[in-house]
Amino acid sequence: MSYREDAVDYWSDLTRAEQGVSGSIALFAAVLLVGLVTGGLNPTYFLFLVGLAGMYALMSLGLNSQWGFSGLINFSVAAFFGIGAYGAALMTSDSSPVLGGFDPILGLVVALSVAAVMAVLIGVPTLRLRADYLAIASLGLAEVVRLLVLNERQWTNGSGGVRGIPRFFENWPILSTFPEAMPVIEIAVPRIGFSIPGLFGIIPGLDVVILSGSLIVLDSPFYQMLLNISLATIFVGASYLVLRRAHRSPWGRVLRTIRSDEDLARALGKNTYSFKMQSFVLGSVIMALAGVFYAHLNLFVSPGDLNPITTFYVWVAVILGGSGSNRGALFGGIVVVTIREGTRFLNEFGWIPFDTAPLRLLMIGFLIVLVMKFRPQGILPPQRELIWPDAIAGSETKPERHTNQQTGGDTNE
């Protein structure tokens, strides 16, 4: 069989949702590539955005393993993110008011441990109760953590935030000097411009001109960002692989049963309290991982990073991507960052007579309404049976495609 036939087979094996998502990702990548090549998009800034996307993807994966797997409603995504960020910052920063100066690896371990302990503390009283109580408790936790960080100056430096956070790879042998060691590359971009004429002078035209002589510079900040992206890739990749295996395992199956019908799981002898606790702690630790990454990406954390809006964005990402789907969570996280950051450029089109940036939230809200109306199961819900892959490979039939993800509304695939 030729590669071409393989590719065709692979493509036709995908469900329509998968084909659609793959197509849009390819298109989006092409647009980004054009932006990069023409110099319209600064490569260093672009990598920063990729880092942000990775951060949101991590938080979505974390929330997905709570809400998507077991149906746990957690409104304190920002708090666990903040615990991760502040944990790493306070452990490693040289201006840290409490500890400081430790290796980032140690900061990572401490931050994740604190998040896990916090998750257990909030889980113990609430996970035995109905789902709503966890929601309320987590809402409270989010505010408590934010206010503590803001007001306990002796520990957190209050509204001043924590500065002087080292880069993650600072103490590593080759990687610490990698950005400076790399040669600076400068690429001159030829003048490219096009304009779309306005319609009879009523509607203004679009005029995009890349300035002549603009230069793409790949210098040490660029290489630094490249390192950050590798870190994000490692974090996201590892979390994704762990969650994927867990999701397709008997463990994940119990969680999915709890989500659909907890009493059934209990009647069949599953200790649902313990399973919910595991799911909650796992998700919280992954959210904290996003915080650790952010601390070493931004090199500065402040109480503003714990704003509840982060929680909202992450919920949007998970619902948009399709609850219960790890790939959906990844996809949703990236889409949310694209909308959040992409809308910053809208102001550059002079013909929009108002400031568009503040409308971002409205747009995201509108998007969610559309998704709920036309595709309540999300864009990329689980597409196939979730049975331990090797076990299903041993039997004659391969994993079946799902035909029933819709919880109402149209038929899928």
Binding site: R245, P250, W251, S260, T397
Partner: protein
């Protein structure tokens, strides 16, 4: 693992993995782990014992000093007019409700007010009146929740010992397929679990409960809303499983179904046991007829 009853529960497959402490314990008790036949003979004849069970919701007394037993190997019917407290008793036995008094003993172990999963560990599995829908799962996925103590249900094992998980999962998948075939619904295996008919859901529920290898299975209205053909199928299946050694306790309003299948039959009225006997005795008893006709005297 403190008493011999727990040891007797261990299935042959698990026996090889039983740790040394259990083995020592058995020897201390005067029996060894390998003479399973003797142990089986030692298993109590009474698999479920409900004694003086009480439960009230506010001023409403739902279970009023109910006492009855289920003998090993029987299909025991639990009947009574609406509001007699049948479902409450099921919930009390299986650990879903906390009782106000009395005891529940499964296989000689006191499980009063234990968590449902602890009751299930003793070999008591229950089904529900309305079939539970598992969204986003196929029938065989829904079946695979049945087996108890799967190694893959431990998060750590997934990463430390995937081979064991794989082995158990393959075995469970084969078991699920076999049981679906025995129930003659193997053609549904890859159907979405939410897309099958109500009667088929009842069959799947029974089949899944069997994967948990119960010693006693509590069925809450297994044929409610099921057409006559499927009802006969269900009756046949229950009879077949009973012959293979599973004890049943079932609530059912369909008198024809209960009387043809169950022996003995326990009649509940207003939360307490009115009488217990063979179907013939029950059907000719004046007090039972009176209770059903709603005679207030």
């Amino acid at each position: 693992m403190s008493d011999t009853d727990t040891t007797a529960d261990v299935s042959p497959a698990e026996q090889s993995t039983v740790d040394e402490s259990t083995a020592e314990q058995s020897t201390a008790d005067g029996s060894t782990t390998d003479d399973r036949a003797t142990e089986q003979a030692d298993e109590p004849e009474i698999v479920l014992e409900v004694e003086d069970l009480q439960k009230s919701f506010g001023g409403l007394v739902a279970t009023d000093h109910a006492t009855f037993e289920v003998e090993r190997g029987t299909i025991t019917g639990l009947i009574g007019p609406n509001g007699a407290g049948k479902s409450t008793i099921f919930n009390l036995i299986s650990g879903f409700y906390e009782s106000d008094g009395g005891t529940v003993t499964v296989n000689g172990t006191d499980v009063t007010n234990r968590e449902p999963y602890e009751v299930a560990e003793q070999g008591l599995i229950r089904t529900f009146q309305t079939p539970r829908k598992l969204e986003g799962m196929t029938v065989r996925e829904a079946m695979l929740i049945g087996p108890r103590n799967q190694p893959g249900e431990s998060f750590l094992t997934l990463f430390t010992d995937p081979a064991t998980v794989n082995e158990a999962e393959s075995a469970n998948l084969a078991d699920a397929q076999r049981i679906l075939e025995e129930f003659e619904i193997d053609h549904l295996a890859t159907q979405p679990a939410t897309d099958i008919s109500g009667g088929q859901m009842k069959l799947v529920e029974l089949a899944r409960a069997m994967l948990a290898e119960p010693e006693i299975l509590l069925l809450d209205e297994p044929v409610a809303g099921v057409n006559p053909t499927l009802r006969n199928t269900l009756a046949e299946q229950i009879r077949r499983l009973n012959e293979q050694g599973t004890t049943f306790l079932l609530i059912e309003h369909d008198m024809e179904f209960v009387m043809s299948l169950a022996d003995p039959v326990v009649v509940l009225n207003q939360g307490s046991v009115l009488m217990e006997g063979t179907p013939d005795e029950i059907q000719t008893n004046d007090r039972v007829i009176e209770a059903y006709l709603g005679g207030g005297t």
